[in-house]
């Protein structure tokens, strides 16, 4: 089904209805007036006929009127007998006088007899003025028709526009509404009851959803927090067990497998805690961060890891990227991005970090495009990273969400490119 705007939809039907109804009304009106006008003329023609015949019976001179004269009638004697004396009225053109001009007229034609002599009587009435009147009427009707239609459309346009304004305001609010930013649905006041109701309901809904969302967020945070102590006990017990000199190599290997699994669990839990902390606003402090030295120090810290991966990290500085944000978060943000590039690099590759005044690009070669819809989602993993937590980029996105002036984007141009930009 094709989508139409509410206004378009309303107008279409309104316009069709108005055009047809007013056209029918105007046509009927016009038709009635014409009928009335001709009725009046025909009646007066009938009167004239009656008068002429009555007068002709008294004054036979009248019977000799062979041409249309002042009296607008003409009598023609008819040979023979037995004519129908019906009255016949019709519209025609009449020649009057010697000028030979033709004028529109109504013509009454009848037959009467005096002493067995039949005569044809033709009486006419000029309709020149009446036709002009009818023409003017038609013109006025057309003008009236269009003015009414246009007025109705305009009035509707403005009324509808004004009436729907709160609706569009509500729609706009909903578009920018994000559940993870609390209280950002602001009420829209309107003089229309239905829209106020809609607004109140929407506000209530956002409040309920935010409550549930926050509850779940807290739940994840609390659950992760509660897991810290048991995880501590497990991993520390394993560490003690590993020192036991009585265990065999095969047992030690199995213990190590358990230990590494617990290690993953610890990292996962730590990442979840970090996510919970970031989204619950536990990093409020801000200061101007110089990203260039930050990137250098992180790259230096990762050198052993990248050397081990035989990946080379190259930093190209075309400008200084400075941004005011939380120091710890800035570190986590850049660290996770670079770490991600190093972890997913194949051997003998070059990771390029390009720093500009308003953007930072982190590129690493890769054969396959990643799903940009999924890449920042929690626990999204492509097949090659079986032991990573799948939360690194999700943390990146959560940090970005805290700072509306920053954006992060993934592109693929024969290599993976993560672009961190300042919004203009």
């Amino acid at each position: 089904m094709k989508e139409r705007t509410l206004k378009y939809y309303t107008y279409r039907y309104l316009l069709i209805a108005v055009l047809i109804i007013i056209a029918i009304w105007a046509a009927s009106f016009y038709w009635l007036i014409i009928k009335e006008v001709y009725d009046t003329i025909d009646k007066s023609l009938n009167n004239s006929k009656n008068r002429i015949i009555a007068n002709a019976k008294i004054d036979t001179d009248i019977l000799n009127t062979r041409e249309f004269g002042i009296g607008n009638f003409m009598i023609t004697p008819l040979p023979g007998e037995d004519y129908s004396e019906n009255i016949h009225i019709y519209s025609t053109q009449v020649n009057i006088g010697k000028l030979g001009n033709e004028y529109p007229a109504r013509m009454l034609q009848t037959i009467f007899h005096i002493n067995n002599q039949y005569f044809q009587l033709e009486v006419y009435a000029s309709t020149l003025e009446d036709d002009e009147f009818l023409q003017n009427l038609l013109l006025s009707l057309i003008v009236l028709y269009f003015s009414i239609v246009i007025s109705i459309i305009f009035i509707n346009y403005f009324v509808l526009d004004k009436a729907l304004r709160p609706f569009y305001a509500i729609l706009k609010k909903l578009k920018i509404y994000r559940i993870d930013k609390s209280n950002n649905y602001l009420s829209v006041q309107s003089p229309i009851k239905e829209f106020n109701e809609l607004d109140v309901e929407l506000y209530g809904m956002t409040q309920r959803n935010e409550k549930i969302y926050n509850y779940q967020k807290d739940f994840i945070g609390n659950a992760a927090h509660e897991l810290q102590t048991p995880l501590s006990i497990i991993s520390n017990k394993i560490e003690l067990l590993m020192e036991d000199e009585n265990i065999s190599f095969s047992i030690a290997e199995k213990i190590n497998e358990v230990y590494l699994a617990v290690y993953r669990l610890k990292n996962l839990n730590k990442s979840l805690l970090t996510l919970a902390k970031i989204s619950s606003g536990q990093f409020p402090e801000k200061k101007l961060i110089h990203f260039n030295p930050l990137i250098h120090s992180i790259v230096e810290n990762l050198t052993e890891l990248s050397d081990f991966k035989t990946a080379h990290i190259q930093i190209i500085e075309n400008g200084n990227f400075d941004f005011s944000m939380n120091e710890e978060l800035a570190h986590i943000l850049i660290f996770n991005l670079i770490k991600n590039a190093v972890t997913h690099s194949e051997k003998q590759t070059v990771i390029k970090i390009l720093i500009e005044k308003n953007s930072i690009y982190i590129q690493n070669p890769g054969k396959q495009k990643l799903d940009e819809q999924m890449i920042f989602k929690r626990f999204y993993k492509n097949n090659q990273s079986k032991s990573s937590t799948g939360l690194g980029l999700s943390i990146v996105e959560t940090i970005i969400q805290l700072y509306p002036a920053l954006s992060i984007q993934y592109q693929y141009q024969d290599k993976h490119i993560f672009a961190l930009r300042k919004r203009k």
């Binding site: 003690l240 990292n267 890891l305 032991s387």
Partner: protein
């Protein structure tokens, strides 16, 4: 040296106790705030490990009491909460260090030793093992009085080993101690091996008697 663990999780308390005893500390434990107060009033320790959340009070409160008594013990706060506020509060109240659960036992030992060393102003401010000597303040290392050139990571690595002699130190724990959280990916733990190899080479080159032995592929033992 004597250590007091104030921790309500008995299992964790036991584990820490076992581990520290392996490193030749004398360990006493307290399971709640009142027991903690009782023990600190009656005895003297070199270091106190303090959990913040105790069933009958806060570890921070206990720390305040200690400071009010002008006690000189090194205090390390051990918390399940990785909260910056708690950390700042704890350090402002005079704690020497702050550790977040879960931690590695080897790291705890290293931190306990460091805290005690900083507290004792006996002038002996270096760690030694056999003919190897480490000065943590100046970050220098010597074998038989001769300086060894070590980079920052190699020094950290050696410091971690010398704090935990004759103990099995897991690769994970080494990675986290020396490279921070940078080694989330367990697959890449193998890179620790190349680092250890370099350090071993340097120790041999300077004829140190200290030895780094691989244990099953789980980790290493410094002896």
């Amino acid at each position: 040296m004597k250590i007091l663990i104030v921790e309500d999780e008995i299992e964790l308390q036991n584990t820490i106790k076992d581990s520290l005893e392996k490193s030749d500390f004398i360990v006493e434990t307290a399971s709640d705030y009142s027991e903690g107060i009782e023990k600190t009033v009656s005895f003297e320790y070199d270091c106190i490990l303090l959990d913040i959340m105790l069933p009958d009070g806060s570890g921070l409160k206990l720390l305040e009491e200690l400071k009010a008594m002008k006690r000189e013990e090194a205090v390390i706060i051990v918390s399940a909460k990785d909260s910056l506020d708690d950390k700042i509060d704890g350090l402002n109240l005079g704690a020497d260090d702050y550790m977040t659960k879960p931690f590695h036992l080897a790291e705890l030992t290293a931190r306990v030793k460091a805290a005690i060393r900083r507290k004792n102003n006996h002038g002996v401010n270096f760690l030694s093992w056999k003919n190897l000597q480490l000065d943590p303040d100046n970050r220098t290392a010597k074998v038989d009085g001769k300086d060894i050139e070590l980079n920052r990571k190699e020094f950290d690595l050696l410091y971690y080993f010398i704090s935990n002699p004759n103990r099995v130190i897991t690769k994970v724990s080494i990675a986290e101690y020396v490279w921070g959280d940078h080694t989330e990916d367990a697959d890449s733990l193998d890179f620790i091996y190349s680092q250890i190899k370099n350090l071993r080479k340097k120790l041999q080159q300077f004829e140190s008697d200290a030895n780094i032995k691989s244990v099953y592929g789980i980790g290493y033992k410094f002896s």
